[in-house]
C-alpha cells in the first residue's frame, strides 16, 4: 500500500452505494466467495450458513462473517445468508453489474491462451480487443477477434470502453505497453510479464507471475525435504509434517 486513505474521506453518506472502504484483504477474498456462491446456487441452495460458505471458499468461518459484515448486514441470525442476495451484493461491490471490457496486449503463447480462456466470459469480462506490437501477427484471427496493432490503441479505446488492460508480452516490451495503455486512459492493468511496471498514481497494477508461484512451492518442497531428512529433534510427528502452511494461505492467494 503506497498510501493510507485518510480516515474520514470515505464517510460521505448520501451517495448511491456509500462505498464502505473495504480492507484490501477482504476485497481479495470477495471473488472467491462469489465463485463459491455461484456454485451453491447452481446446486440449488437458497441459503447458506457462514460455516457452509466458508468451507466452499476455503476460509475460516469467522473471517468470512467479518468480511461480509463490512458489506453490511445481509444475513439472518439463526438461518444464514440468502445466496441470491449475497451474489447481487458482492457483484455490486466488485463493480461487476456492468460487463467489463478487456484489452489484451500480446498474443504470443500466453496471450493466445488468455484470448481463448472461457473463465473470463463466465465471470463478467469480455475481451474486446487483441493487440500486438508485431505487425506480422496483425490481422490474425483468434477466437473470432482480429489482432490489431498496438498503435491503434487510441481508436480501440474510443470504440470500446476499455476498463482493464492485460499485458501478456515479453518482459522487455511490457513497460512501453503499459505507458501506451496509461496514455490512452486505462487505469487498471493486469501484468503477466515478469517485470516491475512503473505507472503514475491512480493506476492500479496487479502482477501474476507463473514462475514465482512455482518458486514458492519449490521453497516449501525444499524445506519439507530437509526436515524429513533430519533425525527428528524431539517431535516424532515429522512425517506428517504438521508444519504447515498446507491448504490455508495457499488455497487462495494470491494473497499473498
Amino acid at each position: 500500500m503506497s498510501q493510507h486513505r485518510q480516515p474520514g474521506a470515505s464517510g460521505r453518506t448520501g451517495a448511491i452505494p456509500a462505498l464502505p472502504d473495504l480492507p484490501e484483504a477482504t476485497v481479495s477474498r470477495l471473488p472467491e466467495y462469489l465463485r463459491a456462491l455461484h456454485a451453491l446456487a447452481d446446486a440449488g441452495h437458497e441459503t447458506v450458513s457462514s460455516e457452509g460458505l466458508a468451507n466452499a471458499a476455503g476460509v475460516n468461518s469467522a473471517k468470512l462473517r467479518k468480511d461480509l459484515s463490512h458489506l453490511g448486514s445481509y444475513g439472518t441470525r439463526g438461518v444464514g445468508y440468502d445466496v441470491a442476495l449475497l451474489v447481487d451484493q458482492i457483484s455490486s461491490v466488485l463493480g461487476l453489474t456492468q460487463c467489463r471490457t478487456v484489452a489484451l496486449v500480446g498474443v504470443g503463447n500466453l496471450g493466445h491462451a488468455l484470448a481463448g480462456y472461457d473463465g473470463f466470459a463466465n465471470r463478467g469480462f469480455r475481451i474486446a480487443a487483441l493487440v500486438d506490437a508485431d505487425r506480422s501477427r496483425v490481422g490474425e484471427v483468434i477466437n473470432g477477434l482480429v489482432v490489431r496493432h498496438v498503435d491503434e490503441l487510441p481508436q480501440i479505446v474510443a470504440e470500446e470502453s476499455i476498463s482493464i488492460g492485460v499485458i501478456a508480452t515479453p518482459a522487455p516490451a511490457a513497460q512501453a505497453v503499459a505507458d501506451q495503455l496509461v496514455a490512452v486512459g486505462v487505469t487498471s492493468i493486469l501484468n503477466f510479464a515478469p517485470c516491475v511496471l512503473s505507472v503514475p498514481d491512480g493506476v492500479d497494477v496487479r502482477k501474476v507471475d507463473l514462475a514465482i508461484e512455482l518458486q514458492i512451492l519449490s521453497f516449501h518442497e525444499h524445506r519439507k525435504a530437509s526436515l524429513t531428512a533430519l533425525p527428528a529433534t524431539g517431535g516424532s510427528a515429522l512425517t506428517a509434517l504438521p508444519g504447515g502452511f498446507a491448504a490455508t494461505d495457499t488455497q487462495e492467494a494470491i494473497g499473498t
Copy 2:
C-alpha cells in the same frame, strides 16, 4: 497458516543448511528479488545497494534489507550486496539449485500455453510430463512432449522424479486430479482451476485464478469511478496502490 511451529523446534544448529524458518511474506518476495538480481547481473552489475535492488523489485528498501537479513548477513556495509553471491544464496534457499521437474495435467487451452511457456525453463523448472484425462488428446505432441493419459501417473513419477504438479483442467476435474497426484506422492500443487482443493496435511497447494485478479481490479476501477463522480470531499489523490499482497498480488506477487 494452519498451525504455528513450536518455538524451539527449528533451532537445530548443525544441520547442513540450518533452515532459517523464513516469514511467509518474505518467501513470497524472494523470487522477485531473484528475478531482479538476474536482470542486474545481465546488465553487468557486480554489487547492488538495497535501494537499487528494492527499486528493481518494486519494494521498500527497508523491507528488502529485513527480508535479506533473515537469510543471514550477506551484505557489506558501505558497499551493498554482491549480486552473484546473493543469487546463489536465494537460489539455495528456494531449493532451486537442483532443476525441479513439473508434471502438467490438462492440456486444454491454458495447459497448452503453459506447456509452451518459456518462463519456466528460464528459471529452473522443467516440464517433464504432459498428462490429460481425455484419451482423444493422448499421443498429441506439444513442444516436443507427448501427452500421456492421467492413469499413467505412477509410471511417470517413477521415471522422472516429479516434485510439483500443475493442474490446468476444468474445475470439475480438478479435485480428482489432485487426489491422483497426492496418491503418487506429489506434495506440491499449483492449481489453475477455479475451485478449492482439499488435500491432506503436508501437501502444499497454491492457487492462481486469472478471473479473480480481474475482479479485484474491477473493484478498484469501480471505486475510482464512484469517487471521481463525487464532488471530492477532501482527498484528491487516489493512490496507485502499487504494493500488493502475498502471492499473486499487485506489482509483486502473489501475494499473496
